[in-house]
Subunit: 197 residues, 2 copies
Amino acid sequence: MSGSPLGADALDLLFRDARTYYSWDETPVTETELRALYDLVKMGPTSANASPARFIFAASADARAKLAATASAANAPKILAAPVTAIIGFDTKFYDKLPILFPPADARSWFAHSETVARETAVRNSSLQGAYFIIAARALGWDTGPMSGFDKAAVDAQFWAGTDVETNFICSLGKGTTEKLFDRLPRLSFEDAATIL
Amino acid sequence: MSGSPLGADALDLLFRDARTYYSWDETPVTETELRALYDLVKMGPTSANASPARFIFAASADARAKLAATASAANAPKILAAPVTAIIGFDTKFYDKLPILFPPADARSWFAHSETVARETAVRNSSLQGAYFIIAARALGWDTGPMSGFDKAAVDAQFWAGTDVETNFICSLGKGTTEKLFDRLPRLSFEDAATIL
């Protein structure tokens, strides 16, 4: 059941004052904190509870350097500076977990018959889960820096080799510092983006 | 800058106690409330601020009947019962708005050169915005019912004709009632979904 709306401070934290960060202070993100974050992210809704997102947290100096080497020139220093950057991927064979994740029906058969349907489902729903990751991190008091400027084939080869997972996007996590922030960019008006019928 | 973490009640509202709803009470969702929701959703981050999501809110009896006619047998009654169901689409020519949305650089050229890159960006980022929609609705005290069981070609033809927009997924909005809820389904453990390197 829905509850009382959140107050203005919470809406500011999650949406209105939150920004995409490019530089980070020294605050570490511990394994305990990553697990607490995952425990929120996993609860967000996905089609038939398919939960296709997979996460690699590049936290060690070695892992961050390896990830930075796959990134655009603009993004590499952001990755090196962040305490952790998450690689958010999708399991192209996510449907093999549906007998566990969706016991009420044979949901595996809804997706396993078609590589096109399976991939569309994996991309859409891992993107939803990537957004849950961003908002859940903010809810826990972290800042985020999502990025899509990297060599996907290189990240796939170096981080997901031997699995059925491919990379969707990456997202730094930590306590952001403000010196490299853009000015707030404009948004589309309701009239430009929405219609009520 | 990040702020204090939200309290347990807020995390419950957004993630832990929130559910996907299939039945709805009589509470209407007004235009004022849809605009307040959009004003949160639009602030969520997208690649180069591209903001490709477009929204049609099927709120009238006619619009809901038209949308229900495109849906799977399981989803049609859910649409008819909900006060409003949002059609969340993506503008395949989103890049034409980048001169307004991203003044610092010629971001249009990053996407307009390749239909593949543009479509991947539109799908990924409109999905992120769809997740912001779900979480922002919960933050405002609403329940949601996201669905992907519908005839995409029919929704595209009947709701987005004459535009460059295609449908991503649909999501009912209102005050849910609990009689048709599934039991809470299991989630993947941290070990099954995540690795720290």
